[in-house]
Structure formats: structure tokens, C-alpha cells
């Protein structure tokens, strides 16, 4: 077919060619509903079981057509990262771009192949709908535009973290994790969809969305400022936090959660210690209240309480029984996970606010509780769980059967002990991993080889230690047996410890989900070791209270009774930290804030 020339004069008869259409078959559009294309962007459907109410769809919606609506009765669990909110669509605003589908972190939302929605005058509100799995008109239409790998706008992969290789880290206590570079941190921070699940799940409700945003904007100082709103242990938590934020992160539904902990660490490392002190001091009271508070224990719980109260202008003295402040963060967490200078940096900030820390003072013997009661307006006991439980199986009273907390404390304090050439650890938690990996390092540097066996009750599906702890421990030569119950510490005729015998565990939970291990008698094993280390539960040494105060206080199933604000049954005494809520740094920090706020009220006679 050639082009028509401009000179072509045309023909008056040419249009009559269309008379031939009389002989053609007419085109008829059917009344039957037309079938839409497989990709069609029709009306929304939302799988409520998958949707977590993160509101990312709302954020990307270019027409503000999406409103998050609270649905009572749906699961609402901050720890799991689920809200009972679901998106509702205003079809007066929706432009069917489908960005909500492409960015949905969970892939719960899709568009159907349905073409038509209309209404009568009195049903105008039918354009505001709450999509559920059933579809707009309770009529099934296949899914049209839905999540595909091509179209996914969620970055599911986390920035790689530089770590020391197993061979270079296994004989020293150098920090394993290298930390993000600025470029990595910005890219990692850019993965965040600002849903705030992290904030809700954090025991101390850190402003993670805000500081992630600040890091993305390249403003590390602002990030630090956001952190200090809730956490004076940001160096520590940037390294060893149990990061419930990452468990709740909505990106983690289908991919790697945003590395929130490493981002915190990046921001803290990026700002000089002196500048951090200035930022932390912002908002400090410009008066001295004259009130005095004593805090027993310089772990995260005690020092957070101290930080808040000192910031409010009160005189705070912290008493620490050991040589240096920090509690379990210093004497429990090995240096390869948390270098002491970073812990010192956190504590220096707290000191710079005006907190006085007195080390090597043991309350109960050096100073009595009675004296504290007389000398101070309020007393906080935040002593943690410093004693290791024993299994008390036969042979467990042998001198080479030790408690992990004691050994970890000795390693930090630099106290020497004979490093066993082979060792068996009982327990499957993070503390068991800490002692196993610490001893593996000492064995490697002294003997050139590692012989550490860990025997844990739980199976790997229900393991207490973090997966990365298990992986790294194995890389360092630690052998881990799961589903093993300790039976006996075997001692030979000469009184020398031979090792630990264990039985296979058939099941660990009963029908109600409570721990109730059952054993297979036929499956017995001997793990050889010159030393057996018990690393099961921990408890508080409450001897500092003395008989009289112990009797005066109320207790709850073995623990000091305290309400959510740490108020004990004695009006001048508060308690905070692990001894109330179990071992976790960030819980202790959260506790510290509650206790400080409660004391503040008490001091103001509110």
C-alpha cells in the first residue's frame, strides 16, 4: 500500500466502495459480560489472613484513596508485627494504577478482573469499600493485576554485612561484625516502608522509622537524636539487641527484614562520642531538684533509670558490686559481640548527664538496704540475674562442673583459670553460645584446636539461641547436639570428670505447649569433656535484702513483685531489669524508663 499523493484528486465514487459492507457479516457486541485480560486492573481484593495492616499501600497511593480502617476482632499483635487495620478504598479517588499491589510487603492485595461497579443515587457510599478476599460484589472474579516478581517494588534483599571469616576470628575476641559503610547504610535504610511495626514491637518503642529515615537522608546526628529519645544504650542495642523490631518488620514477611539493629549501630558509630553526649544532654533540666535516688546495679535497667532521673535534675548514685559498670552487658556478653569501648561510650554518655557510679560497693554487706532507705528519697534495685541454675544431675557437684555466668564474668574480669582442652556445655540459649564460643576462642589460641560440645534440650526448630549464633558457633568449630537431655556428669574412679551423658529427647512440649521433655532411655550418649558447663536458667541473688526486708516484700512465684512501673510492695523501693522481666537488654531499658517515670511522679507527690 503506497502513500497517497497530495496531488491525488480523489474520487467521488470512492466512498461507494463501502457499499460492499452490505455483504459483510455485522459485528455484534454480546450482552454477556466481557472477560477481562489476565492482568486487568479491576477492583481490589485483600486477603485478610495475609494482610498485616502495615499501611504501605496507603503510603504509596498517589490519590490518597486508601484509608486504614480498624477491624475489631482481627489479630492485633505488635510483637508479631500485625495490626488489626485493613485498607479501605475510595473509588472516587482510586486511579487503578496498582502501585498498592506492587508495593504490598505481604502480597495480600490484588486487583480482580471485574469491570463494572455502579450504584443508585442512595448508594453513593458504595464507592467506599473495604476489600476482603470475597471481592467487591460477593461474586468471584479471578485475580487480575497481582504481585509478580517483575512488578514487585519491595526490595527483599538486605545489604550484606561485612563479617570476619571464621578462620580469622576463631582465636581472638575481636568484634566479628564490621558495620555498614555510609553508602550501605543509606541503601539499607531506603528499604524501609515506614510502617512503624518496629516501633510498636520494641519494648522501649524506639523511634526506628524516624531514625531509619534520618539515616536515609544522610543525617546520622538526627538519627542519634531520635535514638536517645528512648534508648541510652544505643551502642549496646546497635550490636546485641534481640531486635524484635526486625522480627516484626513487614519487609520480613517475604524477604530479609530491614537491618534495623545494624542501622542503629551505623548511626552511633558515625557520630563522635563527644557529639553524642551533646545530643543526649539536649533537654536536660537546668535546675537541681535536690532529690536523691540510689540505684543498685549498673546494668541497662539501672543506668537507664539513672539517665532519665539525672536528666530531670535529680541526684543519682548507682552502686555496682563489681569492678566496672555495665552489668551483664559487660560481664555476660563476650567482647567479640560487644567491644568494651562501645559499652564504655554508652556509659560515658550516661555519666556525662550527671549520674554518679560507685563500683566495688556491694549493697547488703558494704552498705545495708536500711542505710539506703534513710539516705535517699527512692531506691531502685536492678541487680539482674547473676546466678546460674544447676541441673543437679548426678555428678553435677564435681568441681569441674561450672556455671556459664561465672566463667563469662571471669573472662571479662581477666581472671585466669585453666582452659579445658575439651568442654561440654549444657543449654541451648544465647548464653550457652556465648560461653561455648568464648572457650572455643581460648582453646584455639592456647591449644590450636577447638573441642566444645553443646547439648541442648530443644530441637533446632525450637532453639532458644539465635540462628546466627548457632551458625557462627558452628563455623568456629563448636559441635551442637539438639534434643539431648542431661543425665549424668560422669566421674571416673580417680575422681576425674569424664564428660556428660545425655538421653535423646522424644518430645519437648506437651499438648498445651508447655515444656515437658520426655526421654528415650535407649538413646544414651557420652560427650567427653574435662569440664562441663551448665548454662540453663539464671536467677537473682536476693541476699542483699536481708531476712527482714524479704519478709516485708511481696513476691510473685519466686520473683520480687512489682507492677508494670516497677513499684514494689514497699513504697520507697522500685525494681527494674532482668530480675523482673527476664534477660534482655532492651526490655531492661524499657523498664528503666517506666521506673524513672514512676519515681518522678512519686517525688512530685502525684
Amino acid at each position: 500500500m503506497s502513500d497517497i499523493s497530495y496531488k491525488d484528486k480523489g474520487s467521488i465514487l470512492a466512498p461507494f466502495k463501502s457499499l460492499s459492507f452490505f455483504s459483510r457479516k455485522p459485528v455484534t457486541e454480546s450482552f454477556e459480560p466481557r472477560i477481562a485480560a489476565d492482568n486487568y486492573r479491576g477492583f481490589h481484593v485483600n486477603d485478610w489472613d495475609i494482610c498485616i495492616g502495615c499501611s504501605t499501600c496507603q503510603k504509596v497511593c498517589d490519590n490518597a484513596a486508601i484509608t486504614m480502617v480498624k477491624i475489631p476482632g482481627l489479630p492485633d499483635d505488635p510483637v508479631m508485627g500485625i495490626r488489626n487495620e485493613r485498607p479501605a478504598i475510595d473509588y472516587g479517588r482510586c486511579c487503578w494504577c496498582g502501585l498498592c499491589v506492587d508495593i504490598c510487603p505481604t502480597s495480600s492485595i490484588s486487583l480482580t478482573q471485574e469491570y463494572v461497579h455502579t450504584c443508585r443515587e442512595n448508594e453513593l457510599d458504595s464507592y467506599f469499600i473495604l476489600p476482603d478476599p470475597k471481592g467487591m460484589h460477593d461474586k468471584f472474579f479471578p485475580k487480575g493485576w497481582s504481585k509478580t516478581e517483575d512488578a514487585d517494588l519491595v526490595d527483599l534483599e538486605r545489604q550484606p554485612m561485612a563479617e570476619m571469616e571464621p578462620q580469622s576470628r576463631s582465636d581472638n575476641f575481636d568484634e566479628i561484625v564490621g558495620g555498614f559503610t555510609k553508602q550501605q547504610a543509606i541503601i539499607e535504610a531506603s528499604r524501609c516502608v515506614q510502617c512503624g511495626m518496629c516501633h510498636d514491637s520494641c519494648p522501649t518503642n524506639m523511634h526506628a522509622p524516624e531514625y531509619i529515615r534520618a539515616i536515609w537522608e544522610g543525617d546520622a546526628e538526627e538519627a542519634v537524636r531520635q535514638m536517645y529519645r528512648t534508648n541510652p544504650f544505643s551502642h549496646v542495642c546497635g550490636r546485641v539487641c534481640t531486635h524484635r523490631c526486625e522480627t516484626a518488620c513487614s519487609i520480613g514477611r517475604r524477604g530479609d527484614p530491614v537491618a534495623i539493629r545494624w542501622l542503629k549501630r551505623y548511626a552511633m558509630d558515625a557520630v563522635s562520642d563527644e557529639r553524642v553526649k551533646e545530643i543526649a544532654a539536649e533537654g536536660k533540666a537546668d535546675f537541681i531538684s535536690g532529690k536523691k535516688i540510689a540505684i543498685i546495679g549498673s546494668g541497662p535497667g539501672g543506668l537507664t533509670t539513672a539517665f532519665d532521673l539525672a536528666k530531670n535534675g535529680h541526684g543519682v548514685t548507682v552502686y555496682e558490686a563489681l569492678d566496672k559498670p555495665g552489668g551483664m552487658t559487660r560481664y555476660g556478653i563476650p567482647e567479640y559481640r560487644l567491644p568494651y569501648d562501645r559499652l564504655d561510650a554508652d556509659i560515658d554518655v550516661i555519666k556525662s548527664i550527671g549520674v554518679k557510679i560507685e563500683c566495688n560497693v556491694r549493697i547488703g554487706s558494704d552498705i545495708t538496704m536500711d542505710q539506703l532507705k534513710q539516705d535517699f528519697d527512692a531506691v531502685v534495685v536492678a541487680i539482674g540475674l547473676q546466678q546460674g541454675r544447676s541441673t543437679r544431675i548426678p555428678g553435677s557437684d564435681h568441681q569441674q562442673v561450672r556455671a556459664s555466668v561465672d566463667l563469662l564474668r571471669m573472662i571479662t574480669a581477666g581472671e585466669s583459670f585453666d582452659v579445658p582442652e575439651s568442654v561440654v556445655v549444657i543449654g541451648g540459649g544465647n548464653v550457652a553460645m556465648d560461653i561455648a564460643r568464648s572457650l572455643a576462642r581460648m582453646q584455639k589460641s592456647q591449644y590450636g584446636k577447638v573441642a566444645v560440645t553443646v547439648s541442648a534440650l530443644e530441637d533446632f526448630d525450637h532453639f532458644l539461641a539465635d540462628a546466627e549464633e548457632v551458625r557462627e558457633a558452628r563455623e568456629e568449630g563448636v559441635v551442637i547436639f539438639d534434643s539431648r537431655g542431661p543425665k549424668e556428669c560422669v566421674v571416673d574412679k580417680n575422681g576425674k570428670l569424664e564428660g556428660l551423658t545425655t538421653l535423646g529427647v522424644i518430645s519437648i512440649f506437651d499438648d498445651d505447649g508447655r515444656f515437658a521433655p520426655s526421654y528415650d532411655e535407649a538413646d544414651e550418649q557420652l560427650h567427653r569433656g574435662e569440664m562441663v558447663i551448665e548454662s540453663i536458667g539464671q536467677m537473682s541473688d536476693i541476699s542483699l535484702f536481708g531476712e527482714e526486708l524479704t519478709e516485708e516484700l511481696e513476691w510473685n512465684r519466686g520473683r520480687l513483685q512489682a507492677d508494670e512501673n516497677g513499684v514494689t510492695s514497699v513504697p520507697w523501693l522500685w525494681s527494674a531489669g532482668d530480675m523482673v522481666h527476664g534477660p534482655d537488654v532492651v526490655h531492661a531499658v524499657a523498664d528503666g524508663h517506666c521506673v524513672a517515670a514512676s519515681i518522678e511522679k512519686y517525688l512530685n507527690n502525684e
Binding site: 500500500m1 502513500d3 497517497i4 497530495y6 491525488d8 484528486k9 480523489g10 474520487s11 467521488i12 470512492a14 466512498p15 466502495k17 463501502s18 459485528v27 477481562a36 485480560a37 489476565d38 492482568n39 486487568y40 486492573r41 504501605t56 503510603k59 504509596v60 498517589d62 490519590n63 486511579c95 487503578w96 494504577c97 496498582g98 502501585l99 506492587d102 508495593i103 486487583l111 487480575g144 493485576w145 509478580t148 517483575d150 512488578a151 517494588l153 519491595v154 526490595d155 541503601i187 535504610a189 531506603s190 528499604r191 524501609c192 516502608v193 515506614q194 529515615r213 536515609w216
Partner: protein, 380 residues
């Protein structure tokens, strides 16, 4: 309704009178008005009156994330939305230094030509209607719908495909798409003789359109005329060839010109471009299966996407002429400024105002349609 345009004016004692042509008039494309001064049916002067569709696109874009604008830009020109998406995406890609996968480039060319076909079918149908011939309009719109069916299949949307995204396209085409596109092209090919006999070679049309709304090449260049309207003055200028983007430099096609510079020439250029677009699409169908790989390069999380500071001017050849985006970023997550250089604003305002003078009242609509101007794009 702007009061300054519509206040009562005392008429001088003569045959001259003023007429409000539009904004609600069957001879006007969209909501657009033309205020003409006539002596009998001869146009003495004309004033374009735009703004009835003003939605402030350029300002709106400054308040939205970079990615959110992909849903906004196709609305600037309803009959030919794809070049808007592609041009906006190209601008961001240039600012970010993104390398678009080759497959995405071919897919973009495919959509651009599909969109051009659809737009030209719409245009000649519209022109026919202004000269009282309604059958070509029905045909044009019906056949355009078949192209929209393919758009629906490819992109999930019939009119606003919102398929292009900075970095590439949003997803790969469905299985068997090229076969169905191929048979559509066969059908459109077979329709060209019908269009010719009913319209393009219809003496009624030729006599009505010849010498109507004529301009010289010099005038066209002076007035900023581009696209088919410029080629209808005999100048073979086409962004696709003179400043190639995507993979147009790998594709054979002719730049069609006509000498007249009038409504007839402009329609004949579009008529020829229908054929050229079909030719390009056939090459895409042949070549695309051999281009493997991703359809989009990795892009950051759209909610946290800072485009590096800078400015860029990207242009493409839309069905209406040269379409360009001038985008300025200050390094933030939203554009600092977006300016759309739409061909229709030149054609519908300054060109139409000049061409209308001296023509007859019944030709105003014809001239406007022959320029293929798109009022929403004038108003953006």
C-alpha cells in the same frame, strides 16, 4: 468561565460579530473554547481560551513521590498516553543514570507505536466528523478499541496503561501476546483501503481540506510546530530519527512528508504514519522474542527514592509532535519542577489562532482537528 473573556461588548455598527466557539461545542476537541470575531462567516480574528480542563499537573507533580507521578502523567494526554509515561520515565532514568534493559526498550517502542496507531485512528475519525462524515469516526474509534484490547492485555489498563516505570516497564508481556498483536496488525492493514476509499481518497474530503489552514514551512518553524503538522509542510523532521531514543535507531521506517502544509497534507501524513507504525510493530514482533532478560532494572524503594540533583530535558515523538519533559530534581524524593513541553499547546493556541484568521467559520473545527491538538495537554 473567565469574566474578562465574556463580558458584554458593545457591537460596532457593522457585519462584524463575536462568537463563542466552545467550550461546549461538538466541533471542539474536548473542553476548549475559541473566541472568534467574524464578518459574515469569515474569521477576522480568533482568541484561544484554554483552562477548562486545568488540573495543575505540573504543580501536582511537585507534591508527589517520583513514582506516584507515573499514574498522573498519562492523564495529560488522554488519546495518546504512552509517550507521556515513557518520556517522564526517560527523564528520571537520565537523572538517576539508570541503564534500562534492552527488552524494556523494545517493549516501550511497541507501546509507543500502538499508542500512535490508536491516536491517529482517533484523529482522522475526528476530522471526518467535523466535515460531516460520521462513518470514518465510528470506524476509527471501533478499530482503536481493538488496540485498547491489546493494551488491556499487556498493561492491565485500557486507556491509562500506567505500564512504564522509571527503570523499565512494570511486567513482562503475557504469553502469545505478539501473535495476537500480529493478527491485529493484519486486520488493520486490511482496513487501510477501506479508510482510503471512505475518507482519504474521498473527493468531498479532499476538496474540503485542500488549502484549508495552510502554513508555510517557515511559519511552522517560527510557531514551534512539530510532528505530523511540521512534516505536512515538507520538512522531514522526526525525533525518532533525528534524536533517536530507546531502540529507534535499530528500526527501519520512513519519515513521510507532504508539501501542502494544509489540513489535507496533515491528514495524509497521519494516514501514511498508520502504515509506518504497522511496519515498525512488525519489526518489533520479529525482534522482541530474541531479546531476553529483565524488563526493569533494580530501582530503590519508591517510598524512599531520592533522585540525584540535576535537570534534564528528554523528548520523544508523540502522535501529536515533539513531547518533552523538563525535569529538575533538588536531590529529594519528589520533583522540584516538572515542565511538560506538549505539542498541543503550540498547535491549539498560537498556531490555531493564526490559521483561523481568514478562514471560514465552518472550517475552524476542521483546522483544529487537522492539527490534532489535545486540550487536556494544553491545560495540563
Amino acid at each position: 468561565m473567565r469574566p474578562e473573556n465574556y463580558e458584554a461588548i458593545k457591537q460596532p455598527p457593522s457585519n462584524e460579530y463575536e462568537l463563542n466557539f466552545g467550550p461546549n461545542h461538538p466541533g471542539i476537541e474536548g473542553n476548549y473554547a475559541f473566541r472568534v470575531k467574524l464578518n459574515g462567516d469569515e474569521v477576522l480574528s480568533a482568541r484561544a481560551d484554554a483552562g477548562y480542563l486545568h488540573r495543575g499537573f505540573e504543580k501536582l507533580m511537585e507534591g508527589r513521590l517520583w513514582i506516584q507521578n507515573i499514574a498522573l502523567v498519562p492523564r495529560i494526554c488522554v488519546p495518546d498516553p504512552v509517550p507521556m509515561e515513557v518520556c517522564y520515565s526517560l527523564a528520571i532514568e537520565e537523572l538517576c543514570g539508570l541503564e534500562i534493559p534492552e527488552r524494556a526498550q523494545w517493549l516501550r517502542v511497541m507501546q509507543l507505536e500502538m499508542s500512535r496507531l490508536a491516536a491517529h485512528l482517533f484523529a482522522f475519525g475526528g476530522h471526518a466528523a467535523t466535515t460531516g462524515m460520521y462513518t470514518p469516526m465510528f470506524w476509527g474509534v471501533a478499530d482503536r478499541d481493538l488496540i485498547l484490547d491489546r493494551f488491556e492485555e499487556l498493561t492491565g489498563g485500557r486507556v491509562y496503561s500506567i505500564y512504564n516505570i522509571p527503570g523499565g516497564v512494570r511486567r513482562d508481556m503475557p504469553d502469545g501476546f505478539l501473535d495476537r498483536l500480529d493478527s491485529l496488525l493484519d486486520y488493520l492493514d486490511s482496513r487501510l483501503p477501506d479508510y482510503d476509499s471512505l475518507f482519504f481518497r474521498n473527493q468531498v474530503f479532499i476538496k474540503r481540506a485542500r488549502d484549508v489552514g495552510a502554513m508555510t514551512q517557515e511559519q511552522a518553524l517560527k510557531w514551534g510546530v512539530t510532528g505530523p503538522n511540521l512534516r505536512a509542510t515538507g520538512l522531514a523532521f522526526d525525533v525518532r530519527r533525528d534524536d533517536p531514543y530507546l531502540v529507534y535507531d535499530k528500526i527501519d521506517f520512513d519519515i513521510v512528508t507532504q508539501p501542502g502544509g494544509d489540513a489535507l497534507s496533515r491528514n495524509l501524513v497521519r494516514r501514511a504514519e498508520l502504515q509506518q507504525s504497522i511496519r515498525i510493530l512488525r519489526q518489533v514482533i520479529k525482534h522482541l522474542p530474541s531479546v531476553k532478560g529483565a524488563v526493569r532494572c533494580p530501582i530503590p524503594n519508591p517510598l524512599a527514592w531520592n533522585v540525584p540533583a540535576g535537570e534534564t530535558y528528554t523528548r520523544v515523538e508523540s502522535s501529536k509532535g515533539e513531547l518533552a519533559y523538563y525535569v529538575v530534581s533538588n536531590g529529594g524524593d519528589k520533583p522540584y519542577r516538572v515542565h511538560v513541553r506538549g505539542p498541543s499547546s503550540m498547535h491549539a493556541v498560537q498556531v490555531l489562532e493564526k490559521l483561523a484568521v481568514g478562514s471560514r467559520l465552518e472550517d475552524i473545527a476542521q483546522i483544529m482537528f487537522s492539527l490534532d491538538a489535545c486540550p487536556p495537554e494544553v491545560d495540563r
